[in-house]
């Protein structure tokens, strides 16, 4: 019997040894080898964990939910949804397992993924409950864009490629920023890799590059809208030119070329002082102004208006507008004349032109463009509030006043190119643009702000790929869109 007991004990010891082997191996897996396993590329746990957390909502200025996390029944627990789809796709961006993040989802990732609530010693049962959980109380991101204005912009573009950017000149708040083609972020945020990949490849194959929003990630030839900058340069650098009479002509013979002529649009003849030149968008006159201003003055003015520098909009991947360096005009005065009217290699991001219109509207100051309005906590309390700050002083208040006069003339004069933007009872200041692209079709522009006395909104409209015609399409195609956006916004803010 004693010997049986002895063997029972030996058997118990043996079983303990077996468990000890498992314990040793557990130490290896859970402690010594753990970080290697955690960093193994096959290990999806971090990603799953990150994507399993709910994120704060993104909400428009008029209270429309643009992005939110809803409970899902799969392993990720929450599904990110974008109720407005493509309307806000280029602003919200996406939150994708495979393709990462973009737009506001990337820019404000830390705000959306973690609550700013401070952890304090738990004083109540409720706080203790919070301490024991990983469920964060979420902060919501409120943005300045109005869903209604964004919808109107899309409706006005009516499926044509192009962009509409609307800003509040006094604060830099983005009121609308829509471009075609846009994209729906919902399939990119799908937890089904096949759906994600199909959507991604479709976007990659789209020649309109929906993921590169035309409004702030692409550059276009600005055409005559650049005359806003050229005219400002006149007042800021050579005011004498503003009093000069330029001869009426149908074209400008370009120096440093073998007699190349810069023709006016549709072969029209124009001339006179800067007001007349600006009103009818006289290329020959402004070409001459460019030659007399010189490359250095023009480039300096462009830089002051936010060209050739990163735009501090709170979104990732914002493009820079381009004006060539003065050195490139050496023995190349023809290029200088063309650059002064927004041709040659001058390239503009629609956002920049909206900011330039806002600069004239805001007495020469460009406010930092921004989408962030407020961050609110789980109880709706404001955690963070955006404070408007100036970005650049583009020009003097005096020059801004002069430019306002010029831009009002474009809309109000019977022979102005922007008469289509007239709104009864509202003084609209604007400038048209029509740019050749090298291909058969043209790009049409309109930049504007209103009301001229107390500007509340500055707009830039671009409609791409329009068939050429004898009129200034900037006036006939883009101006009505700007008018609709301005009208709608002013009605909304009217007391």
């Amino acid at each position: 019997m004693n010997s049986i007991n002895r063997r029972v004990r030996w058997a118990g010891l043996g079983a303990c040894l077996l468990v000890l082997v498992v314990f040793a191996q557990l130490n290896y897996i859970q402690v010594f080898h753990a970080s290697a396993l955690e960093n193994n590329p096959l290990n999806m746990r971090h990603i799953i964990q990150q994507y399993s957390k709910p994120r704060g909502a993104i909400i428009s200025a008029d209270g429309v939910t643009l992005a939110e996390s809803v409970p899902s029944n799969d392993q990720y627990k929450y599904q990110r949804v974008y109720p407005k789809g493509a309307l806000f796709g280029q602003i919200t961006g996406y939150y994708s397992l495979t393709y990462g993040t973009d737009g506001l989802e990337r820019q404000y990732n830390s705000v959306l993924s973690e609550a700013t609530t401070k952890v304090s010693f738990p004083g109540s049962l409720h706080q203790l409950e919070k301490l024991l959980t990983t469920e964060p109380s979420l902060d919501d991101l409120h943005i300045t864009v109005l869903s209604s204005l964004q919808s109107l912009a899309r409706q006005q573009l009516a499926g044509r490629d192009g962009a509409v950017v609307a800003l509040e000149p006094k604060t830099g708040a983005v009121l609308a920023m829509y471009s075609n083609p846009s994209y729906n972020p919902n399939p990119l945020a799908s937890h089904n890799p096949a759906v994600e990949q199909a959507a991604w490849h479709k976007l990659q194959d789209n020649p309109g590059r929906p993921l590169a929003a035309a409004a702030y990630r692409q550059r276009f030839f600005p055409g005559s809208t650049f005359k806003v900058v050229t005219a400002s340069a006149v007042y800021d650098h050579k005011p004498a030119l503003a009093k000069k009479d330029f001869p009426v002509s149908t074209g400008l013979v370009l120096p440093d070329t073998a007699g190349q002529v810069l023709h006016n649009y549709a072969g029209e003849a124009c001339g006179g002082q800067i007001l007349e030149l600006f009103t009818v968008s006289c290329d020959s006159g402004f070409g001459q102004i460019g030659l007399e201003l010189g490359g250095k003055n023009l480039a300096e003015e462009a830089k002051a208006f936010g060209w050739d520098r990163p735009i501090p909009l709170d979104l990732p991947g914002v493009a820079e507008s381009y004006f060539p360096p003065p050195s490139s005009f050496y023995r190349n005065a023809g290029a200088l004349a063309k650059s002064a009217i927004g041709q040659e290699s001058v390239q503009a991001v629609p956002l920049t032109l909206a900011l330039d219109a806002a600069a004239i509207a805001d007495k020469g100051v460009i406010m930092t463009p921004h989408l962030l309005s407020t961050v609110t906590g789980s109880q709706g309390q404001v955690v963070e509030k955006y404070k408007p700050k100036p970005w650049l002083r583009a020009t003097s208040p005096a020059t801004a006043a002069k430019l306002t006069t010029l831009m009002l003339s474009v809309v109000n004069s019977p022979n102005g190119t922007g008469v289509a933007a007239q709104i009864p009872g509202v003084e609209v200041a604007g400038k048209t643009g029509t740019a050749q692209t090298g291909g058969p079709n043209i790009e049409t522009w309109f930049v504007a702000f209103a009301p001229a006395q107390d500007p509340k909104i500055a707009v830039c409209v671009l409609v791409e790929n329009q068939p050429p015609a004898t009129e200034y399409q900037g006036g006939t195609i883009a101006a009505p869109i700007a008018k609709a956006v301005i009208e709608s916004y002013l009605q909304r803010t009217a007391p």
Partner: protein, 484 residues
Amino acid sequence: MSVSAPSAPVALRPAAASPARSERRLAPRRAELGMLVLVYVLVTGLYVVAGLGASGKVPKDAPVFALATAILLASGHIALRRLAPYASAVFLPLAALLNGIGYVFISHLDSAEGSNQALWTVVGLACLIVTLALFPRAIDFERYRYLIALAGIALLLLPLVPHIGEDINGARLWVRAGPFSLQPEEFAKIALAIFFASVLAERADLLAAGTRRIGRWLVLEPRYLAPLAAAWGLSLLILLAENNLGASFLFFMLLVSMLWIATGRLAYLGLGAGLFAGAAVFALDVVHHAQTRVQAWLHPWAHFATSGYQIIEGWFGLAGGGMWGLGPGQGNARVIPEASTDFMFASIGEQIGLVGLSALLAIYLLLMGSGLRAAVRSERSFGKLLATGLSLLLVVQVFVVSGGITRVIPVTGIVLPFVSYGGSSLVSNYALLAILIRISNDNASLPHPGDDDGRVSRASSSQQSGRPLAVAREEAGTTGSLPL
């Protein structure tokens, strides 16, 4: 054979319990009550914390859970007070703790499985009580050994019967009857342990001494081994037919270790190791299922997309848990295939870390230790062998599961006793617990001549009390008794 043995010790029990005796009767139960209260606090606390971890809220059904747990623990305790008052105090609290921990994690992995498991817990506890009530003495298990062995083999055969047997994951271990499916092997294990213990208790001396000379070698007398070999061979055949390799290893381990403990002949261990090696080679050659498992064990990274996936995800889960774990209710255990059954160990490990898993292993070792303690204290070899066999069965299961997940051995479809999801496993383990409790109860309640309150000092138990009892059994006509 004569089966009058139980009546003899019963007749020796004093007619009226003395005050000292009722005091002794109450002491383990009082200790048990204290431990159950502790278990209750731990399990309900864990339930709330896991709910907070998973959803950020105190679970709405927390009061229901607390009440149900209290009722279950109380009924278990009251049943033991009546049916096994002398049994060791630790069995029920340890099993309840494991069961409670398992339930909390299962219910957060899958709420439907959680409610099933709750139902099975009730059935399991009922099984514990019924087993204790049906078998008032450990010797009663011995009396029905052939019936039990037959029942065990019938249970093993059941999955092979057309229409009721079911293939799940390449192994045919299930029996389906309406909405319920049953894994009969879980119950068969216990039946065979009882059979082995009774046969070995009867023939240990013969098995130890019986040899035959073949040439220069002294070999074991095959005649004495016949019933064992038959039982084992039959069960092995069935298991191979069912592709159930994990269970056949368990059965084999059970037989060999009990044989060695009964006889003390190391030759059985050697023979067992040899047979096992042979069976393993044979299985690897013949059973495709086994080949896949071994490949996944040796080269999981090469088979990440297929057979290695489960192991690697289990490892990622364990590594994510690290030293302290992510916290109950947190993590992504659902990623692991079979997270609530075969890989429960990994899914818990992610949440409670190395520290928690070590504690869990320690609970199993404590439970085994209590079982072995009952074995050592048992006056009869049947009780010794059965308690040892069942205790080892419990911990070897834990080893096979956790060793499979940690890649110490290949993965087999065995689940963690009391913790993993599964009705058959839970209910059969409660039956196993009932037997251990019964043996433990017998040890303390069996009165000893010359010791009127039954208390036996350590010195006297080995020198005096053993012998007269054997004599008493001899007189009562029990055949094949051992020199105790």
